[in-house]
Symmetry: C2
Subunit: 229 residues, 2 copies
């Protein structure tokens, strides 16, 4: 039997794509790297998986170490393994993604992260490694996901207006939606509860506030209903 040692020279990393929504803007959480390669560049919060660690565990640990984020539900999206994607050798990375409410979490840089900050998806520069490509793949997953189920639940504050919900969909789908049609479809799905409350402290005319009906939402997801907007 030929020796298999030659194959045991690769490294495994995890990279986390954390999406949030704020001020009508879809955002992603990035760190500024304090370590070579790509020192000082903005990057996805990611790092090496240790020898005795499962992938999901590593993704959670790395995210917590670099950004302070804990109790975030991470979902594996894809492995990225182009032969030359990392300057230090063969490194395969497993991308995870999550949708969170920006204001519900505090972030704080540590370990190899000099800074940690939310960046608008629409105004991103070149990131470290192949992280633009990884982000793109996770954004594509989010676009598909938004058709399969309402994602507002994870991204919006607990109470929100129909305009906020529409802006979220517009940011994800990167398109403008017709207000009347959007409202008609959303209302017909029976997923929202009218709170009989109005916005407070806004400069414009206050709008009605809604929340998601969690029970209906879970039923909706379990049945695999599609959510055509």
């Amino acid at each position: 039997m030929p020796s298999l040692d030659q194959f045991f020279k690769a490294a495994i990393t995890v990279d986390n794509v954390i999406f949030g929504f704020d001020d009508d803007d879809l955002k992603v959480l990035l760190i500024q790297r304090g370590e070579e390669p790509y020192i000082n560049k903005w990057a996805l919060p990611g790092y090496f998986v240790t020898e005795d660690e499962d992938l999901d565990t590593a993704a959670e640990r790395v995210l917590a170490e670099l950004t302070g984020l804990t109790n975030v539900y991470l979902e594996q999206v894809k492995a990225f393994g182009a032969a030359k994607r990392h300057p230090l050798g063969r490194v395969i990375t497993i991308a995870y993604y999550s949708l969170i409410k920006i204001n519900a979490f505090e972030v704080k840089p540590a370990s190899i992260a000099e800074k940690v900050m939310w960046h608008s998806i629409s105004k991103l520069d070149e990131l470290a490694f192949d992280h633009n490509e990884i982000l793109e793949a996770c954004f594509a997953r989010l676009k598909r996901r938004v058709r399969g189920r309402p994602v507002g639940f994870e991204l919006l504050p607990r109470k929100f207006t129909l305009t906020q919900l529409q802006h979220l969909y517009e940011a994800i789908l990167e398109t403008e939606l017709d207000k009347r049609n959007f409202r008609k479809k959303i209302i017909s799905m029976n997923l929202l509860i009218d709170l009989n409350e109005m916005q407070e402290g806004v400069a414009h005319r206050p709008a009605k506030l809604y929340k998601f009906d969690r029970e209906k939402y879970e039923e909706f997801v379990a049945k695999g209903f599609s959510f055509e907007i």
Copy 2:
């Protein structure tokens, strides 16, 4: 800066889950391993990724080397990286899957494959490594996929009967479907072309033959329509 050498000790493999459909039975293509570990055990056709090889390329090469299958469209499903999943060290595997027409391809074992054979999904023994788990994840993907688009196109012969189509769905969804409802839904989707031909050489009463309307099918997929059965 601390040395990162400690992280470069892992190996990467690819494993391919090839689904086919034959005689009303959903099948998966397995090899009998001719190499330790798990020598003589049935396993998914998979092997190590070489140093300078992209993942997708590796999946195609390994599949071709072990089974003779070429020109198969492989889709990445998931990375499996439990810390102790491989007896020889840290090995992370990237699972790919494909749907093919069994009779349109010839298979032939080579390299570390002693045998290559189609196995019924419903009658599988314990496979090598964590391959039952990998197969399970790909089967789950197939179940989800069947709701998002018609998969018969890839798995059925070019001409098929409505009964064959129904049996395919029953095999994938692991449930019995009501014949009348199934036909009503399928016909209403306008995806089938009635060939005005009957089956030949069958013991039972010959049934009408259909084929998929490729144009309608592609439109259907592009629009992201759901396919509730």
